[in-house]
Amino acid sequence: MSNTQQLNDLAVQVRRDILRMVHKVNSGHPGGSLGCTEFLVALYNEIMDRKEGFDMDGIGEDLFFLSNGHISPVFYSVLARAGYFPVEELSTFRLIDSRLQGHPTTHEGLPGVRIASGSLGQGMSVALGAAQAKKLNNDSHLVYSLHGDGELQEGQNWEAIMYASAKNVDNIICTVDLNGQQIDGPTTKVLFMGDLKGKFEAFGWDVVEIIDGNNIEAILKGMELAKSKTGQGKPVCVLLRTEMGHGVDFMMHTHEWHGKAPNDEQLENALSQNPETLGDY
């Protein structure tokens, strides 16, 4: 898939999936999911080099790890629509006996998921291990990961950030979703983290900024630049500036929709802003 219009159509459909999934069970995290929709759509359908099917080891293909596991709705939708499992299964999200647990897990054997995440701050370490396994296997493919900005308050990230540059793990691109929001409010108020670009650079990383992280073309351009920086001895960080709740006007510019589902009326309104493109599940 290379046509920007096709990717945008897919993004709208993924948005609909997210909204319908969380509405059905009246739980889940729509805000961050909507904010990362364009990124994950672009990553899985244009940026990553993926094999057909799924095996855990993923030798000979690019890998992705979701560290901020609460945005599982967007992850599940993108995986299903990339062919890892039937899109109909999205209707089981958060229900008893489902493979689509509240937070992603390998435990139920859902294709496309390689690690459990939800308890924050662990994904970068895992991604680094997978990247080092690729080097041992002489596999030149890349490892991608996604992290919340609030998630960087967890100290384990900084152990991983320090390690990655010290050990020259240069086959990794860690993206931070800079939506500036967390449960208790704006990240600047909850725990201001200052100059993240400067922090990553001080820790020895190459940093790429994507200012419009909800624009497919900006994402493709920024990630192409990030890719070009791999293999040069340094880990690569992408600071992806997104709008939480993107694509649904009343869910934007607030942290209120971090972990709240829309009611029937709100769902109808939200879906009307995102008309069906590829068919609902």
């Binding site: 855990m56 080891d57 993923g58 030798i59 890998l63 790890f65 897990t105 390998t106 435990h107 390689r114 690690i115 459990a116 995440s117 939800g118 308890s119 662990q122 994904g123 970068m124 370490s125 895992v126 991604a127 680094l128 291990g129 997978a130 990247a131 080092q132 396994a133 690729k134 041992l136 296997n137 596999d139 100290g155 384990q156 152990e159 991983a160 320090m162 390690y163 010290a166 050990k167």
Partner: protein, 317 residues
Amino acid sequence: MKTYTYTEKKDTRSGFGDGLAELGRTNPDVVALCADLTPSLKMGEFIKENPDRFFQIGIAEANMMGIAAGLTIGGKIPFTGTFANFSTGRVYDQIRQSIAYSGKNVKICASHAGLTLGEDGATHQILEDIGLMKMLPGMTVINPCDYNQTKAATIAIAEHEGPVYLRFGRPSVPIFTPADQKFEIGKAIQLTEGTDVTIVATGHLVWEALEASKILNEKGISAEVINIHTIKPLDEEAILNSVSKTKCIVTAEEHNYLGGLGESVARVLASKLPTPQEFVATKDTFGESGTPAQLMVKYGLDSKSVAEAAEAVIKRK
């Protein structure tokens, strides 16, 4: 009564180091990680022979557990090495989510477990690690008794698919198991045959139990000593077979009596064959500084304590 002697003492951590070195030569998928304690973990030989398969993480155990989980994706078999305290309590959530719940094939190798770490004191002497690890679904928990058994266990766990907690220690202890004894995960080893009392012991307490059986024998008491090197999965059959004959049991471990081997045994007996039991273990307390021998006596983990517990439990039959 079968008696056990020894000609040499050695630390169990050296069994780990030598087992890991052997794996380095025989299994190309085995990789090792350490959080700045390679001499303490005796990892030097593996590192020297396989520099590309060793990952020095620095003093960052949480990162180490996550990296280990990631290395399994790509087919590696990671062995992490640090003290038992930093292998468990410090990184419980990392192990729980990224390793146990994710079903990753990581071998968590923990030295300096229990009181026998000695002079460093309670900050480093974890007595809760068996409980922490055995509560994690899918986690295998192993606590071998001497150098030979620790070496054999290290080699054996590489062939086992799934997360393992391997616990060993710092002091030199008698080597009394055969060097060529194959290690079978989950299979208890009966060391002496007896009719009056069953003593099941793990780790350093196995030798103390054998010494206790000599004390008891002099008093005309016949003790059946069983080495439970695997706490999970527990060899329930071996325990039930023995107590159906002796009608009473002593459990012995270098661990808190809350959450340790003793409670696992009590669960089996309570549900299948209620039996009087005495616990040789620390009694919900932290440790302290001292020599290993002094600490084992003070906290009631020596052969004399095991023998006294045996006599006490026999009276409760």
